[in-house]
Amino acid sequence: MTAQSRSGEQGGAFNAVVLVGGLLFGFGLALSNMHRPEVVLDFLQLQDLGLLFVMGGAAAVTALVFTLGTRSGRSAPLTGRRYGRRLKSMDRNVLFGGAIFGVGWGLSGICPGAAYASVGVGNLPILWGIGGMFVGAYAQGYVRSARRTRTSTPTRE
């Protein structure tokens, strides 16, 4: 069973589906100009509210598909994973993290998916931003790993 689910997660069909999904995702980001930090900053400075339609249009599609998928009670053909919704637990980190992300987004006009898309159009300065994201992701992982080690019991394996 483990072997089968692993092959399902790594097989050619699985990767092909992920690639097609990624291509559509990136095509949509570029079509809506989200790969341009200037356009995102125009939105945040309330000069062009088009971004609302990007997020709204995308969320409308996922709302429909996730709802129908969850109601069907069925599982994905390539993995056997049950269709469900994206429900994360609420805690202080959701708000703290959202606030830190908001400051970074407002300062730079970049978010992860849009930055990856921007690489595809040859926007090399965006690598400053992606490099920064890796540094930030590493820093929070370092602090959280250190905290867990300090607060865990000595008998931990």
């Binding site: 992920v18 995702f25 971004l51 249009g57 409308a60 959202g98 040859g122």
Partner: protein, 169 residues
């Protein structure tokens, strides 16, 4: 009658100033993004977000406990494929119907410093504009609504503050 016409003209003028580039390309792009998420969802059952890639990719080079979690190890290979696809999809658009190579004028220090905060905030907050903004909102998750409201308010405040301080672009 005249008042109605004037009212309509005013409303149209307000729409023009709120949406100087229209809404069609934005909405169509959004639908494409939603379809990309949906293809992966229907085929694999995974609900993808873009920022998990940061930590799952760090698991290749860092032995920190945080990154060696099974949810990163088990998904890091296909998250590379997903990210490659995002860049590829944008390239396909840019070099067919789009404007080809494009380079931002936003200053590198803004990109780098903003990027660091985006990296911390999205991983601490369990998601980004795609994970919470598109997939979480599409799941009608109250956690995601709270996260999105928080980052939108802060981002609008900071972007206007930076502009008011005369930083451009």
């Amino acid at each position: 009658m005249t008042a109605g016409v004037v009212g309509f003209a005013l409303a149209a003028g307000a729409l023009d100033s709120l949406f100087p580039n229209g809404v069609l390309a934005y909405a169509l792009g959004g639908v494409c993004i939603g379809l990309g998420v949906s293809v992966i969802y229907l085929g694999t059952g995974h609900i993808v977000g873009a920022s998990t890639f940061l930590e799952s990719t760090l698991s290749y080079v860092s032995r920190l406990e945080r990154f060696q979690a099974s949810r990163f190890l088990a998904t890091r290979d296909w998250r590379l494929v997903f990210t490659f696809g995002i860049a590829g999809g944008a390239a396909i658009y840019a070099f067919t119907i789009g404007d080809g190579v494009w380079t931002t004028q936003v200053q590198p220090w803004r990109l780098a410093l903003g990027g660091i905060l985006v990296g911390i905030g999205t991983r601490l907050g369990k998601g980004c504009t795609s994970g919470h903004g598109v997939c979480g909102v599409g799941s009608l998750s109250t956690t995601s609504f709270a996260n999105v409201a928080t980052f939108l308010l802060l981002a609008i405040g900071v972007a206007n503050l930076v502009q008011a301080l005369g930083v451009s672009p």
